[in-house]
Symmetry: C2
């Protein structure tokens, strides 16, 4: 792909993964429009590259993407409510911020004849699958969280647009990502706690939850590899993104404490999962992605350390 | 189940399948509230049984189900946009009428502490599956229609409510149903045409599309069998509803023409499917349902004839 010829719009381009995508596209010579409402994004994350333009706006208003996307060739849609844990406290949020916003974004693409569409989906939509590692064509999953339910709703809309309107769609089912600019999840939670009280740490679940994590730079290289190389029927490109390794919460705590040079007392809340709808074990089968020649370059422990270092050096990110 | 002790609300209770459910529940002694906006329902279908009350209203307004469900024990949610074929003409309709309405209905249940929730889903959400007959745990399907996409979105919401809020949910993945009060689909289309011009019939696709159909009385008996007998983990009861037989469009045309005593010239539009997103072959695996002791009682050809007879005797239904 000749990036220098193309105009990309990146929704959520001031967020964790979106901002890394903006950097990668601009570095390849593309012109990029960031669309973000800064509800969870950071001004500090927005690229200052001369090819990058910023549009502020809430995508729940259909006119916002319609105005922002004019003249673009490709949309990467990252903007979403990514707060999995508190979904049950505000059950309309995932419906609005994920399902409805994605529909608005698709409609804006259709209005402007934009056919290339990349979407950040999630391994959470495999629910409590019994198949580990989980491939893309795992048995039809039962959704256990409102977040997973909203992402499966988005995927359905996106592939229906591929079949119905000729979109070329790139759907990435992410494990949790780690690395610079990651301001949520267990590393940030633990670091916040340990800054306040280095002598003890409260851990959700029993600490044996096993998760796979990928470094955000490996995530971006995987996403662009798919765009450049994937061949799939009907231009529906669905790929798991993840690491072959996984790490238990306890092991991750060990990496963090070693890096901080502390030995807190660990208080486990108990139970096999962190919260309702949390999958106690996540490991995605990434053979489809690796067959394109992509490989991860960082260990999970290295990604945990890299996230922690970013947080230590950028106090604003924990505000 | 002691139906006489229970109050049911049936959304879409003036529609094809919903109205049959209302009749069946009232006949078992239950008190039933029909909630319908008559956008596709018929006043003529609404039960005149003394146990049945009618509430008119559009469920896209969250206050409508909230008012209608007060004091109820069980909600059967049938109300939906069931116009699969024209989804691409108005891509917001499935999002609103199916996904958002279902969320409003779930929230109204939650507001009133109603935990029992039945939902009319569809075999269309298996998309272009390669597995025939298709079981409930078929490989994770790719949605090919906006209708299928909206129903998979609804299922996700419903099961997330089961995990998050303790709902007992009954999800029925229907093949197309036939029988009295069916006013859409190929039987009604063909009958409308043949009434206007008995000498020729335009048929979508090449006539070789194979579909399975179930009689609506068998559908209702299956739904109630599931409520009465199903045992599934987490009270998430997902069942395919269908016939073991299937019938080609050509064979169905034969049944209809014989019943009408005519021999029209057949004009096939060609192609392997009726419209974009139409699955050319639908046959659901119903072993899970049949293991509960349920069986179908009518052949597919018999169901086609029964639908046709209803349409011949009730001209209002083709208005």
């Amino acid at each position: 792909m000749n990036y220098a010829n193309k105009r990309f719009a990146v929704t959520g381009g001031a967020g964790f993964i979106g901002s890394h995508m903006v950097d990668a596209l601009a570095a390849r010579g593309a012109r990029v429009t960031v669309v973000d409402d800064f509800s969870t994004g950071f001004q500090e994350f927005v690229s200052k590259h001369e090819n990058v333009t910023l549009v502020r706006g809430d995508l729940l208003d259909p006119e916002v993407p319609k105005r922002a996307f004019e003249g673009h060739d490709f949309v990467f849609h990252f903007a979403a409510n990514a707060d999995v844990r508190d979904g049950l406290k505000h059950p309309r949020k995932d419906v609005e911020q994920n399902t409805l916003v994605t529909h608005n974004v698709l409609e804006a693409c259709r209005a402007h004849g934009i056919k290339d569409f990349g979407f950040s989906s999630t391994g959470a939509l495999y629910g409590d699958t019994a198949v580990l590692p989980t491939p893309e064509d795992a048995p039809f999953p039962i959704q256990t969280s409102l977040y997973g339910a909203s992402k499966v709703a988005c995927e359905g809309l996106i592939t229906a647009y591929a079949f119905g309107y000729g979109f070329r769609v790139y759907i990435y089912r992410f494990v949790s990502m780690l690395g610079p600019r990651y301001t949520h999840g267990h590393v940030a939670d633990f670091y916040r706690q340990l800054r306040a009280h280095p002598d003890h740490l409260d851990v959700l679940g029993d600490g044996n939850q096993q998760k796979s994590y990928l470094h955000v730079t490996d995530c971006i290289s995987a996403m662009l590899t798919v765009v450049e190389k994937s061949k799939m029927p009907n231009d529906v490109h669905i790929y798991n993104l993840g690491h072959t390794e996984w790490i238990s919460v306890k092991e991750s705590v060990g990496v963090i404490c070693k890096e901080l040079g502390i030995s807190p007392k660990l208080n486990f809340a108990g139970g096999d999962r962190g919260w309702v709808g949390d999958a106690p074990k996540i490991l995605l089968d990434t053979k489809r992605l690796r067959a394109l020649g992509w490989t991860d370059t960082r260990s999970v422990a290295d990604s945990v350390r890299d996230t922690l270092r970013f947080l230590k050096e950028n106090a604003y990110a924990l505000r």
